[in-house]
């Protein structure tokens, strides 16, 4: 469905992405995990057209989209739910959802209404607050709204940037449960997360990013067993005494290569 090949993106003189390649098959949930500053958000921003890449390709069903502006990429069917949710806080919840359907406006209005009702069955908590300004919602509900707004465009691929950011553990669980449901309903999702443990519970395939490169990849089961993954991202091994012979294994988690 979505294929990223040898993607390079620069912020000024620094390369934030240095040759990232991976594939997101249809109806799969692929997670990219990594520490702060690993280049995860840049990756999603580049795929969605917010940043322009200096090299490489992004193919959506074989169609190169890496040179299109963000507003055109949405129409092709790639929708990014950005970091920090970025909902339109002074508009109502309903307006936020309606604007999500903006790329296909002019089409069948009844269909848009039906889609909105459907999305409200996924996020029932939003139905009671439709006429409230979106800025007044709690963090968890804002995240649900942001995902719902993204789904309103009926994307072929939904890109999610750190949906767990700033949320209480219980809400994180709820959001990931929804992602799992969405995947089961056939939505193709590319998820970027710092919370590796949560991401691995729902993902079909996991890529680990560090310093702008993919350093590890595999199924969640395989990666859970990988000792580098355990030490760096799953919080195991920190408390063990450092042995002389495997010193590098216990170094700062960022040096994974």
């Amino acid at each position: 469905m979505l294929e990223v090949k040898n993607l390079h993106t620069r912020h000024g003189w620094n390369y934030a992405l240095k040759g990232v390649s991976f594939r997101v098959p249809a109806s799969h949930l692929v997670a990219v995990v990594g520490a702060n500053g690993a280049g995860k958000s840049t990756l999603l921003g580049t795929v969605a057209g917010i940043y322009s890449c200096s090299e490489g390709e992004v193919l959506l069903e074989g169609l190169p989209i890496q040179r299109m502006p963000a507003e055109k990429i949405v129409r092709q069917g790639v929708c990014l739910v950005p970091e920090h949710r970025q909902i339109f806080d002074s508009l109502t919840v309903e307006d936020n959802l309606l604007l999500g359907a903006y790329p296909r406006w002019g089409g069948n209005r009844r269909e848009i209404k039906t889609d909105m009702d459907y999305i409200l069955t996924i996020f029932p908590a939003l139905s009671d607050r439709l006429q409230d300004p979106a800025g007044g919602l709690s963090g968890g509900m804002q995240q649900m709204l942001a995902i719902g707004r993204g789904l309103m465009s009926k994307p072929k691929v939904l890109l999610l940037d750190e949906p767990s950011l700033g949320l209480a553990p219980l809400l994180v669980k709820e959001i990931f449960k929804t992602l799992d449901d969405l995947k089961k309903l056939g939505t193709t999702i590319l998820l970027v997360e710092q919370n590796a443990r949560a991401a691995m519970q729902v993902a079909d395939r996991v890529y680990v990013m560090d310093h702008g490169q993919i350093v590890l990849e595999g199924s969640p089961e395989d990666l859970k067993k990988d000792h580098r993954m355990q030490q760096a991202y799953l919080g195991k091994g920190y408390m063990r005494p450092v042995r002389e012979d495997s010193c590098e294994d216990y170094a700062v988690p960022k040096v994974l290569i």
């Binding site: 917010i50 507003e71 949405v74 129409r75 970025q86 339109f88 307006d95 604007l99 903006y102 790329p103």
Partner: protein
């Protein structure tokens, strides 16, 4: 001081205020969506007035001339955005402001070449006896000014509140990146805003011409007054722009009546200074505390 006189000043102020509100709305629409302050706004007013006056002089019916003129100025606004603002879209805000000032001077120059320095009259939209409101007189044209500006304002509000395009414009003003991610193109919105603002400006110029006549340089002062009204209202709020327009009109008329009509313009700019010094966020704007 007789109550009738105060009432008279108030009515004059309301009429002026309607004009200022229309021009201020042009400033606010462009500023909230694109972040630019468009000092060519006054020239839209002038063009609307002069084109209508010329067409009526040439024998076109009044209402046909008004509609044609508004459409033509709208087209001019769109061309201005494409040819002048769009190429400079990545320049700093100050550069764009200076471009709009420069362009307005150029437009005024061309208008001088076409229309000369004489003033062009326009007949009142309807004839008849003036109305008497609580002892004050209000001529028919003032009624037209008030009604048409209120109608334009209501239509604009309905547009922002009820249509998807209006909401998309709002979304673009709230968060441009998120709006792009929803497929809303900021460039198309910018084009739309300039067209809309040009049409609002043209309407303001047309409705005021029967009272003041139209000249090539009328846009300068009216544009600045509209800007003062917009700043008074906080520059980001459409309600603020309308209130700012009416408040400025009333203060000006009161000042001119109670002190001296020579101070009319000075009063506006004194108000601008006071607002900028004491309450830069305007009457309805929120303080610009950026969240970190």
């Amino acid at each position: 001081m007789h109550i009738n006189e105060l009432m008279q000043f108030l009515l004059t102020g309301l009429t002026l205020g309607g004009i200022y509100a229309l021009i201020a709305l042009g400033f606010v629409t462009i500023y909230t969506v694109t972040g630019h302050i468009n000092f060519t706004q006054g020239e839209f007013v002038m063009l609307g007035a002069l084109i209508t006056a010329s067409m009526v002089k040439g024998g076109t019916g009044l209402w046909a001339a008004i509609i044609a003129s508004i459409l033509l100025v709208g087209l001019f606004g769109a061309l201005f955005e494409r040819a002048v603002i769009y190429p400079a879209r990545n320049s700093p805000v100050v550069t764009v402001i200076i471009i709009t000032i420069g362009f307005s001077v150029a437009v005024r120059g061309v208008a001088l070449l076409i229309w000369g320095t004489q003033s062009y009259p326009l007949p009142s939209f309807s004839s008849g006896e003036p109305l008497y409101v609580l002892g004050a007189t209000m001529n028919k044209q003032s009624v037209w000014v008030l009604c048409l500006s209120l109608l334009a304002v209501s239509l604009l509000f309905a547009f922002f509140e009820r249509t998807v395009m209006g909401k998309a414009l709002k979304a673009c003003a709230i968060n441009r990146v998120a709006a792009r991610l929803m497929g809303i193109s900021p460039q198309r919105m910018s084009l739309f805003c300039f067209t809309l603002s040009a049409m609002l400006g043209a309407l303001a110029g047309i409705v005021i011409t029967p009272t003041t006549t139209a000249t090539y340089d009328m846009g300068l002062m009216l544009g600045l007054k509209g800007f003062v009204a917009a700043v008074l209202g906080g520059l980001t709020s459409t309600t603020g722009a309308v209130l700012g327009g009416f408040l400025l009109g009333i203060l000006e008329a009161m000042g001119a009546g109670l002190i001296s009509s020579g101070y009319k313009d000075a009063i506006s700019f004194l108000i601008l200074l006071l607002v900028l010094l004491k309450r830069p966020e305007g009457l309805l704007g929120k303080p610009d505390g950026k969240r970190v």
